[in-house]
Amino acid sequence: MSTLHTVNKSPFEKNSMSSCLSHSVADSAILMIEDGVYGAIKNTSIAGDIDSAVKEKSIYVLGPDLKARGLNEDQLIDGISVVDYAGFVELVCANDKVQNWL
């Protein structure tokens, strides 16, 4: 059974991101959306946790939410993939279920 995890909260304000990271198994897909995209940026106080997660899980970030917040792909932690809304739908379809870390 495969699961897509989504995180829509800033990792600096809520523990949704860390809960997601600790409750997702290897090979899971994790998609950062809305304020969750702040977790994808390099050199932050949580970048180490994301770096480790990238090694065993597939981490995605929603491009339009990055752009809205003045962030660009150059600022992302290596190994994170940018998807658009069509890519979001594909991830939902490619997995058996979705866990939203609100």
């Binding site: 304000e13 702040y38 932050t44 339009p64 939410d65 809205a68 003045g70």
Partner: protein, 135 residues
């Protein structure tokens, strides 16, 4: 003459995910009509509000970041950004909008509205205020 009070608007939320940032801006603009000694603080996720290059065309939400550039015209010229909050988020001053105002007491010279302060200095600034508005 009415006493001028020190008003500080304390911004701690990222834009777009919640309505706090936009609501704060609206209250700041309304408050600007009352000739008080106004300043804005950007702490924690609030520093994300003044990131440069915001483009909301992909999420169908109004991009209100240009309004920060207009604050100087309303004599809102003191924007304090906390250094530690930027560092925790991998940001530097270069990631923020270059916000300026024209100083009428100095031949309309263009000056920076943003002052980067430490967490300890921010604590002092909060202490010096008469009124705090929290967003």
């Amino acid at each position: 003459m009415a006493t001028i009070k020190k008003f500080m608007y304390v911004n701690r939320k990222a834009p777009y995910g919640t309505v706090y940032a936009l609501e704060s801006l609206e209250v700041v603009l309304i408050g600007a009509a009352f000739d008080q000694d106004v300043s804005l603080a950007f702490v924690d996720d609030g520093v994300y509000q003044i990131m440069k290059g915001q483009d909301t065309s992909g999420i169908e939400v109004k991009n209100f970041s240009p309004i920060y550039s207009a604050l100087g015209d309303y004599e809102v010229t003191k924007l304090y950004v906390e250094k530690e909050s930027m560092e925790e988020r991998g940001l530097t001053l270069d990631d923020l909008m270059p916000l300026v105002y024209e100083d009428e007491d100095d031949d309309w010279a263009e000056k920076d509205s943003i002052t980067v302060v430490s967490r300890a200095e921010m604590a002092e600034l909060l202490e010096q205020q008469d009124v705090l508005f929290n967003f």
